[in-house]
Symmetry: C2
Subunit: 345 residues, 2 copies
């Protein structure tokens, strides 16, 4: 079976110089993939002259507009209807692509996806979910990561349902454990929204284990961690910032004096490389937008080609595993059993 | 001049086995310090038999109650008036101690401090601030860290004023830069509270540089990072969790095979030790409760003796540098120039 993926080639901090090499390398590695490269056709054509690829794996789709990282989501949605993001999303809507991916403006991605693809029945808002490594050697799926800055308790419950469905599909865990991110484990902790969400999650059919704290993400206390998009975004970026600082600090430690440098030279090809890989954010690039009627992935805006390719791989896995059908099914089942009436935001 | 510090010896996950060794070691290192050890007198006396200390540096103060980590703040405040936390705080109130410190329940510390010591004129709520290392080799002061889970824009402005005052006193920076933690740098980003706070900070006399994101904490983009206590607490714990995971992962990398083990053995005493120290959360232990009429420090609940001693050192530095007088002065000046009317929460 051929998997068709639409790529917003213009999105992200780097645009074509990142997306094109990643796309071509990814296509070479996956012969059963067909890619729609969406964006300014002439620029893409120009960029492709420096890449190796099979013509029959690639279709160019012209889009005249480019949504910048600073564009307000609603402006991007309404005034840039011929954007590369709209183009990629429309290919999913029409069924020509099984999935799409963008490294661009998160708010715009969110808005365009919800308007063009619509949210799943019973889901009020889509949410971004990603996997982070934990000390159990597995991964913790956390959502939402920036799409929703003002959430109510029902939204958080729905994030729990969608996150649980994602993990059960991707990791094959039948009833993933779900934790609610809070400032303490005790029920009395947190703001009013979180306290109410905790009640709803406890009444639901989910495998809810209660409140978890920031460090539980990395302990792997629960398979899924639910939080609002403000908290999730800040936490994600903070841990990326720390991981980067630690990587640099380690490199400097091995440059401090001749003896350290010698040790560093010996350790670099093996131990340090392995270690750096284990904490490299690029390996965990690729967040899934859950809750819309289509498979949509978001790469980190600052991703380089290798990181963008990681996100492409995740997109491929999701499409190949029929993520959307399974998520929709699981969400419908959960909504039936939890019997929550969807609210307008 | 003798600096008098009151220690809540019963607080924290470990209590006396942590606080007593730290207190005695700290007293030995600082001959001009006098410590009030507050808690169950018999247990403290018993614990001290295993420690070395000068009798004239230590005064035992009995307190019958112990506030547990699970106690609701208001219950702890009202029903455990003879707690070791109350005792330590009362010594600050009476002027017998220049400062106090506890590793106990954060919510209770907050409540007891605000009721017994009162907030500074013009400040509605106290906030917990701590310093985190950044890649500029300096530190970023972040507040609030868990005391206030529901903040309005005025609270965030006041946190900015207090954080700026703290950094100017402690680090000697005349006009510290202040950033507001948000999900993007653009003004349009964030929830309503953050957008409003951004306006207030911009109109204030502070050296406000605008929104900062999670990774800016570790880039050192601003000297002070302002956020509500929910976000601050979750971020702090998440980065601690990641730092711990990375430390363990690095150790494992050097145990993978005989060659790695040999390199690890050679690197351990120097390079790796230096590196681990640079990311060790224990070195950054000790958050300052800003906004009350007294110097109050909070150690991490899980702190071991060496980390608790780090927090004791910070408490000493703050008292020795007359932090309270300087903060009060700076806050009054800022409030006059920013001319914000304090609101009730």
């Amino acid at each position: 079976v051929t998997i068709n993926i639409a790529i917003d080639c213009m999105g992200g901090d780097h645009g074509l110089p990142t997306t094109l090499p990643a796309a071509c390398h990814f296509a070479q590695a996956n012969p059963n993939v067909h890619l729609f490269l969406v964006g300014k056709e002439e620029e893409i054509r120009q960029g492709l002259t420096q890449q190796t690829y099979k013509k029959d794996q690639i279709t160019l789709v012209h889009a005249n507009d480019v949504i910048s990282m600073d564009d307000a989501p609603l402006i991007a949605l309404r005034r840039k209807k011929d954007s590369s993001l709209h183009g990629a999303m429309n290919l999913v809507k029409s069924g020509e692509a099984h999935a799409c991916i963008s490294a661009g403006n998160t708010g715009a991605l969110m808005a365009v996806a919800q308007v063009l693809l619509r949210t799943l029945d019973g889901i009020d808002r889509a949410a971004l979910a990603t996997a982070m490594p934990n000390s159990k050697g597995k991964s913790t799926t956390i959502l939402d990561l920036g799409a929703n800055v003002d959430c109510n308790a029902i939204h958080l419950l729905q994030f729990g349902i969608m996150g649980s469905a994602l993990v059960s599909v991707i990791d094959g865990i039948e009833r993933p454990t779900v934790g609610l991110l809070n400032v303490g484990q005790e029920d009395i902790k947190g703001n009013e929204v979180v306290k109410k969400a905790s009640e709803l999650l406890r009444q639901s059919a989910l495998n809810f284990i209660g409140n978890v704290e920031g460090d539980d993400i990395f302990h792997g206390t629960s398979d899924v961690v639910v939080c609002d998009g403000f908290v999730g975004n800040v936490v994600l970026k903070a841990v990326e910032g720390l991981a980067k600082m630690i990587k640099i600090s380690l490199e400097q430690s091995f440059r401090n004096d001749p003896f350290s440098m010698m040790l560093g030279a010996m350790a670099s090809p093996t131990v340090l490389k392995r270690f750096k890989n284990s904490i490299d954010p690029a390996r965990y690039n690729g967040a899934c937008l859950l809750g819309v009627k289509g498979i949509v992935f978001k790469s980190h805006g600052s991703a380089k080609a290798d990181a963008f390719e990681c996100a492409l791989n995740r997109t491929y896995e999701a499409a190949n595993n029929k993520l959307l059908d399974k998520i929709s099914q699981t969400v419908q089942q959960s909504l039936t059993t939890t019997a929550i009436e969807p609210q307008t935001p």
